[in-house]
């Protein structure tokens, strides 16, 4: 599903190198966790995969048989790549429902499907809300404006449920959540796990992995993947810290 080879990324205009040769293979339906200390390049990796501007990128990323790096941000999204933002962006004046319908219809158009009218769209929204056990109070507000940290993250997962991506990159979706909100968001993620949906979960802490069990765990440090293993690697990290792992 996702094959990353020797991916390097530098801040544009001669900035420093942040990703220094990443190799990663994520199979269909697999959930991979990427853990690492602050400044290790986790969010840069998420941004580069989603097509964020401001980086000079080299290496190859093959997604679903296509050259991901050659695609624009919105092409990637329409092809099924979804980034759950660490800091979801507030957009005053743009209603959340209007935004989501524009996004969903853009995705549907590119798949050759018909656009949903307001009624069909609302029906789908209700289904997904029910699935995720979240209330609809966020829908009539402007995108992320005035949302609490937990509401913003829930809204990201809700968007993922609506857009049904093939590859979801979750960038610190657990950060800033209290334990109840974390459980809610983790339940949402678990419900969206599917055989044809791969996930890359970026996180600081092991606690998300208590709720969402990954197939593989990778440790990113200094712009490289320095260790990979099963979920026991996360427990080891929790015990020894990143410093302990780097020393090993």
């Amino acid at each position: 599903m996702l094959s990353i080879k020797n991916l390097r990324a530098k801040v544009a205009d001669g900035g420093r190198e942040i990703l220094k040769g990443i190799d990663l293979e994520v199979g269909p339906g697999e959930v991979h966790a990427i853990m690492g200390p602050n400044g290790s390049g986790k969010s840069t990796l998420a941004g580069v995969l989603a097509g964020r501007a401001g980086y000079e990128v080299s290496g190859t990323v093959t997604y679903d048989g296509r050259d991901l790096l050659a695609m624009s941000t919105d092409e990637r999204a329409r092809a099924g790549v979804f980034l759950a933002f660490q800091y979801p962006v507030e957009i005053p004046g743009v209603n959340n429902m209007y935004f989501l319908r524009a996004a969903l219809n853009a995705v549907r158009r590119s798949r050759g499907e018909s656009e949903l009218d307001a009624g069909q769209f609302l029906k789908l929204v209700r289904q997904k809300l029910k699935l995720l056990e979240i209330s609809d109070d966020l829908l009539q507000r402007p995108v992320n404006v005035g949302f609490s940290g937990g509401e913003k993250k829930r809204n990201e997962i809700f968007q993922m449920a609506m857009l049904e991506p093939k590859l979801a990159i979750l960038d610190e979706t657990d950060s800033g959540l209290d334990i109840d909100a974390l459980r809610l968001v983790a339940n949402g993620i678990n419900k969206l796990r599917a055989r044809d949906r791969s996930m890359v979960m970026i996180t600081h802490y092991q606690r998300l992995l208590d709720y969402v069990e990954p197939n593989r765990v990778h440790v990113l440090s200094g712009g490289r993947i320095v260790a990979s293993g099963d979920k026991s690697l996360a427990l080891e990290l929790e015990a020894k810290g990143y410093a302990g792992l780097e020393a090993a």
Partner: protein, 392 residues
């Protein structure tokens, strides 16, 4: 440049006004940002009578659809009129006066005007009036005067639309007098033909406790300017909001001057600009708070969005305060679309042109939302939507 004036009862007034008219230049402070290079060759004499009225479809497009007294002018002359409180200026020409503080184009209007509208509401009356100013002329002018007088406690909603076809010169001067506790909601849509020039000016005298709520949406014309001068009595309230949305090589100015001469009056002003391609937008806004105008509450804001590297904006918000117990603020911003917002929308699959349109719409809708009258607001939204769609 002044062409022969109409030899009527107003001739002495016309001649005096014509003598006073001088084409402004960038050395005149109120005009320093407006590019007037192409104006001189557009100062056409009045169009001959007899042009066709706009089709029913055009009239429907330039109507909010709400029940109202309707007036249609073609090239500055009344083509259709209704309403007990609405009269033709051509039959009341003695009402034409020079309006000193509206600048040179008010003088030009006095020299040439032959028709227009007189709205006169007695105390306590209430009315909704919609005026379509239609321009249909090549190298000719439409000179119009609108006089509005509201008696004490009267209420009116006035929706004026400017549209047309051809390279005409549109010049409209409005004089508004609001009696005590009267209230006027005044909505203006300037959607003139792309080759036209539009110079409009409004003078509003707002008596004690009266309310004047103006909204101006500027979409059309090659070169346009809307001047608004309001003089506020004690406890009067004034709202001036609006937007200019420009593309191609359009040039547009919104210039306002609010004079707080008496205490306890309020002004709120929000003007937004969306400027694309090589267009140029100008906002000049002044609020004067005279020494007697204690307890004034006045706020002014101009925000601009530049959509292309060659688009330009000049903005000059200004407060002139001579009283010491007042609450006043002003501000101006000029910026691009927010890259983070654009990335967020695109990361959900929305193609870049649509993502940009969504953000521009949000920016502009925010100010149109300030129009309290729902049919007028929907009407402006409809034309705003059309402007956004036509840019794709």
């Amino acid at each position: 440049m002044i062409a022969p004036l109409k030899q009527d009862a107003l001739i002495a007034t016309r001649e005096a006004a014509a003598r006073r008219f001088v084409l402004p230049t960038r050395r005149d402070e109120p005009w320093r940002f407006t590019d007037l290079r192409t104006l001189e060759k557009s100062l056409f004499p009045p169009a001959a009578p007899g042009a066709d009225a706009p089709s029913a479809a055009v009239q429907a497009a330039y109507s909010s659809g709400a029940p109202a007294q309707r007036v249609v002018l073609v090239n500055g002359r009344v083509a259709a009129i209704q309403g007990a409180h609405v009269a033709r200026l051509a039959e009341r020409l003695e009402l034409v006066r020079e309006i000193d503080d509206l600048g040179p184009f008010a003088a030009l209007n006095t020299a040439f005007v032959e028709d227009g509208i007189v709205i006169s509401l007695p105390a306590g009356a209430s009315e909704r009036i919609e005026i379509l100013h239609w321009g249909a002329a090549e190298s000719a002018g439409a000179y119009t005067r609108v006089l509005v007088e509201l008696g004490a406690g009267a209420e009116a909603t006035l929706v004026e639309s400017f549209a047309g076809t051809g390279n005409y010169f549109g010049n409209v001067i409005a004089a508004i007098r609001l009696g005590e506790k009267a209230r006027l909601r005044h909505v203006t849509l300037q959607d003139e033909a792309g080759a036209a020039v539009h110079l409009g000016a409004v003078k509003a005298d707002v008596a004690e406790g009266a309310e004047y709520e103006a909204f101006v949406l500027m979409l059309g014309a090659r070169l346009s300017r809307h001047d608004l001068v309001a003089c506020l009595g004690k406890g009067a309230r004034c709202a001036i909001n609006g937007a200019y949305l420009l593309r191609g090589q359009q040039e547009a100015t919104i210039a306002t001057f609010v004079d707080h001469a008496a205490p306890c009056a309020q002004t709120s002003e929000v003007v937004k600009g969306v400027v694309d391609d090589r267009a140029h937008g100008v906002f000049q806004g002044k609020i004067r708070v005279r020494s007697d105008a204690q307890k004034t509450d006045a706020h002014q804001l101009n925000r601009n969005l530049l959509l292309s590297p060659r688009a330009a904006v000049d903005t000059k918000p200004e407060l002139e305060i001579y009283a010491d117990d007042v609450k006043c603020s002003h501000g101006a911003t000029v910026g691009d679309l927010d890259e983070a917002q654009l990335f967020y929308l695109r990361s959900r699959g929305i193609p870049e042109p649509e993502a940009r349109r969504i953000l521009v719409e949000a920016f502009a809708v925010d100010v149109v939302d300030l129009v309290a009258d729902a049919p007028a607001r929907d009407y402006l939204m409809r034309h705003l939507g059309r402007w956004l769609e036509s840019g794709r």
